[in-house]
């Protein structure tokens, strides 16, 4: 199996992890040839996760903007509320084949953590999820869900206390417990074979978009737009269209609160090539190679690296990258809620926001597909703050005083 994407990717890990990566690659190669694996995976996707997810024509939004037709691929309707469950099910089945008893994962927004905890409960694994202390503060509801699902949530208090540090902590746990543990890495990043394996699992998103759009419009989209943190939902939506040169692929990064270093997570054009967390790709780093702090209102995009295949697609100019600020993303949540009745995740709202800018510049025959990677329930507290919802604060105050705590 190819371990590099051009000069990117690879497996830059301590020797002690290499046998585990070799074992994983071999198990994945075997599984791909195994009809039983395919059947079991498809069955779980259909009957547990709820696939296929709908491709919704955003009629109201399209009319409001007066330009290209906008379609929304609603991955938020997956069980657990985001696309993450798909690669979790795939990897958990591989872990079963390897006889592993425990799943570990890193999580940023908590979506991948919840999805991992869910498949662990469903398929009978013990589970530990590493999560940065900063992210725990931002995404407490998901911590609660993971714990209810029986997982242990391990706070990560070093570095920037966000997703990249959770990845480091999970890798270290894996190094120590590789015998009985599978590291269920949650994006198209990390050492080979993770970027390839997760892309393959997620590519069902693009396949469904193609099929669904053929049924409704009878053609290919002109644009596929997806937000990009590590890149799992983007690679899921893009992969099936890479060979179709007419389809423009746009990755939307987190513009955060501004262009200053540390205020955003835009790897393009500010990042440079490096080798961190086991793979070679673009990273936000200083001239010494130290990773830089990043910021985004959406924890899922708050990450200094990007999947190696996306770096190659960037260099080949096959995927274009743009960025959207925190404020624009919040506005996009609002617009989509009120026009289409969909409260989308802040991550996905970055993609929506770009589509809001793009659609009016295109003619009415053009078609934009926006990948809504997740739904917004998890962002309740952040959105309440962003919309300055005083009544929500009062509710919280009363709730706390009723419990007799905090006074």
């Amino acid at each position: 199996m190819k371990s590099h994407f051009g000069k990117y990717g690879g497996a830059y890990v301590p020797e002690m992890l290499i046998p585990a990566l070799e074992e994983l690659e071999n198990a994945y190669i075997d599984a791909k040839k195994d009809k039983k694996f395919e059947k079991e995976f498809e069955d779980l996707l259909k009957n547990y996760s709820g696939r296929p997810t709908p491709l919704i024509f955003a009629k109201n939004l399209t009319e409001k903007l007066g330009g290209a037709k906008i379609y929304l691929k609603n991955e938020g309707l997956n069980h657990t509320g985001a696309h993450k469950i798909t690669h979790c099910l795939g990897q958990a089945l591989i872990a079963k084949r390897l006889g592993k008893k425990r799943l570990i994962a890193e999580t940023g927004a908590g979506q991948h953590g919840v999805a991992t905890a869910t498949v662990a409960a469903k398929l009978g694994f013990a589970c530990t999820v590493y999560m940065g202390e900063e992210d725990i503060k931002r995404q407490r509801p998901n911590v609660f869900l993971m714990e209810r699902l029986g997982a242990k949530v391990a706070p990560v208090g070093f570095g920037s206390k966000t997703l990249k540090d959770a990845v480091n902590a999970a890798i270290k746990d894996w190094i120590e417990n590789v015998e009985d543990t599978h590291y269920l890495l949650g994006s198209v990043v990390g050492p080979h074979p993770f970027p390839t394996m997760n892309r393959d699992f997620q590519s069902i998103v693009g396949s469904e978009i193609r099929k669904q759009l053929r049924e409704t419009e009878g053609l290919l989209p002109d644009y596929v737009v997806a937000c990009v943190g590590g890149g799992s939902n983007a690679m899921g939506a893009f992969t099936n269209f890479i060979k179709d040169k007419s389809v423009k692929l746009i990755g939307v990064e987190a513009g955060g609160r501004g262009k200053k270093i540390g205020d955003n997570a835009t790897r393009f054009p500010t990042g440079s090539v490096g080798v961190v967390e086991g793979y070679k790709s673009y990273f936000l780093q200083d001239s010494d190679g130290q990773l830089q702090k990043t910021h985004s209102i959406s924890a899922g995009l708050d990450y200094p690296g990007i999947g190696p295949e996306l770096s190659l697609l960037h260099d080949k100019k096959r995927v274009g990258f743009v960025s959207v600020t925190d404020m624009e993303a919040v506005e996009a949540v609002d617009v989509l809620s009120k026009t289409e009745g969909i409260i989308t995740a802040l991550e996905s709202a970055h993609a929506v926001s770009y589509a809001l800018k793009l659609a009016p510049t295109l003619s009415k025959e053009k078609v934009i597909v926006v990948n809504l990677s997740g739904r917004g329930d998890k962002d309740l507290f952040i959105l309440a703050k962003a919309f300055n919802d005083k009544k929500f604060y009062e509710f919280l105050k009363e709730y706390i005083s009723e419990l007799g705590i905090g006074s």
Partner: protein, 262 residues
Amino acid sequence: MNLIDQKLAQIKNDSRIGIMAHTVVGFPSVEKTIEIVKILEEAGADMVELQIPFSDPLADGPTIMKACEDSLARGIKVKDSFIVMKKLAKEIKIPLLFMCYYNIVFKYGVEKFCKDAKEAGASGIIVPDMPVDEEGDEHLLEYCQKYKLYNIQVISSFSPDHRVKLNAEKAEGFVYVTSRRGTTGVKENLDSQLSKNLERIKKFFSIPIAVGFGISSKEQIGSLLGKAEIAVIGSAIIDVIRDSKENEIEKNVSKFLKEMVF
């Protein structure tokens, strides 16, 4: 002849186990690092690895990770590590090695890093996240050879034979074997399968073996006699530095290391 070879020959001659000590550059300050390394030599260290601090040290446990973080927070740059290397190489006789993660080397420029490290006085480098498999794209071994710098391979005592063999083909100077599954950091007991694994690994190598990860007592080092040529002490020294008042660091490090030396 590389200084490391001379040192290894001397250790062999003395029929003892050598000590490679480790410290993080800039922890707690550049000046202190220089003093600490001098003290380590005086207290009996045979070699010292100077770790260039990195934001995301994959193979390190909390102790060294925190030391790296503290050092970076003080504004320590990669060029400071070269300055420390240069100064120390002039003042002490034992071989010095750079230990760092590959991104530091990569961003610096692989050839330039090897050239500058050699010129600064390093005898070798240890880059734990650069497996031999990626050499084709990176040329780290190639430039180490060009500038006569030993690239010390790090393998695990649990590495399967095919991986040990692959590394043995490329290893120079000595090979660094991690004593257990896991990251760096002090542990009370060495892995119960360590002796057996070292015997297995030894068959593949004609060069000496250094054992590291979790070593913090004379008993542990004693148990390695005859099975390995060098014991590596890393996190335990960082712990001593962290637990010492600033004016007692040298005294405490010296006392600690002297207790380790056979």
